[in-house]
């Protein structure tokens, strides 16, 4: 539901970066989306499509790269990746040493990774 406000923040970054690089046009936008970022890719995509009209990224394609949720065991350092957020078989217990002290190390972020521009 809050994808539109995130897309608005994304466009602030896009316009700032594009003008700094002297771009005439942005042709591609690559965003990395953590599975636990709370972002629904379909909603983000449609928010992007409506927001881009009349901006420097008017014709840009959006590529979303999903980032898996990853935990690291604080006891033994073992790293564990969840297949997806609704993975029922996933347990938050370290399979290597049985510790429950797992730290979330990836999957919460939402990043503008790169832009393809025309100068």
């Amino acid at each position: 539901m809050h994808e539109l406000s995130l897309v608005a923040d994304l466009f602030t970054i896009i316009e700032e970066q594009a003008s700094r690089a002297g771009a005439k046009r942005v042709t591609k936008v690559v965003v990395s989306v953590g599975e636990l970022s709370g972002v629904v890719p379909e909603l983000f995509r449609s928010a992007f499509q409506s927001y881009k009209k009349g901006t420097i990224a008017d014709k840009a394609r959006l590529q979303l790269k999903m980032v898996k949720i990853k935990f690291k065991c604080r006891s033994c350092g073992h790293e564990l990746t969840a297949r997806n957020i609704m993975d029922e078989s996933f347990s938050y217990v370290c399979p290597a040493c049985g510790s429950k002290d797992m730290e979330l190390i990836a999957g919460r972020d939402l990043y503008l990774e790169k832009l393809e521009i025309e100068t």
Partner: protein, 225 residues
């Protein structure tokens, strides 16, 4: 002229603009020695009722303030004012969560000598979890009628909170709610969660929760002194 295409590596955090404002709010709160608590839950879990009850218990010994986040109406803020506490209503007009910049807009109205600032987020167990408000503590509330399967269905709210408050525990005899299962599953997701079993109706667990808040405030002020 020929058009040149090139790739620009950016690596900028899109949630960063919220985070920046949240960090400024956190810094101000710490300077004033105010402990802010962000309350997350589904609609109807009893956030306002819990605040009314702990507000009455704490108001003689502490300075309290409450920010109410709702999509529409001032109803929750009015409930809090009725028990004699200052309340500021943020109506989001459709937005499903509070953001740091909404808080920043009313921050000047918050007295600097508060002890606790409670921030009641928009009723929603999903979106508010993604937005840091600069709070010192995050509470996630889960009421008995909602069912005991929620922690694993809405993990982000439980992962990012420090305290789990089970509410409406006076209804336990009437509903198939497995408290042990909820606590076990919540701790699997986040082993550092502190759990309180409460009821705004019977008063269960409220003294423990207030004692915890006072101890946290004391400890934090000790650290920043």
């Amino acid at each position: 002229m020929e058009q040149k295409k090139k790739e620009l590596l950016v690596l900028e955090d899109i949630l960063g603009s919220n985070k920046k404002i949240a960090d400024q709010i956190r810094k101000k709160l710490e300077e004033h020695g105010i402990l802010a608590i962000n309350l997350l839950s589904a609609p109807g879990s009893g956030k306002t009722s819990l605040l009314e009850k702990i507000g009455l218990k704490l108001k003689d010994s502490c300075r309290l303030g409450v920010i109410e986040g709702d999509i529409e109406t001032e109803r929750d803020a009015e409930r809090i004012r009725k028990i004699g506490l200052p309340a500021w209503q943020i109506t989001t007009h459709g937005a499903c969560h509070l953001e740091a910049k909404m808080l920043a807009q009313i921050f000047d109205q918050i007295p600097a000598d508060l002890d606790f600032l409670f921030i009641e987020n928009v009723g929603n167990l999903v979106c508010p979890a993604s937005f840091d408000l600069g709070e010192g503590l995050r509470f996630v509330l889960l009421s008995v009628p909602e069912g005991d399967d929620k922690p694993q269905k809405y993990p982000e709210a439980f992962i990012t909170s420090q305290v789990l408050v089970l509410t409406k525990c006076d209804l336990l005899p009437y509903l198939p709610f497995d408290t042990d299962r909820v606590i076990k599953e919540a701790l699997e997701i986040n082993p550092h969660l502190k759990v309180f079993k409460t009821s705004a109706t019977s008063g269960e667990g409220l003294d423990e929760l207030c004692a915890f808040l006072e101890a946290e405030l004391k400890q934090r002020r000790g650290q920043h002194a």
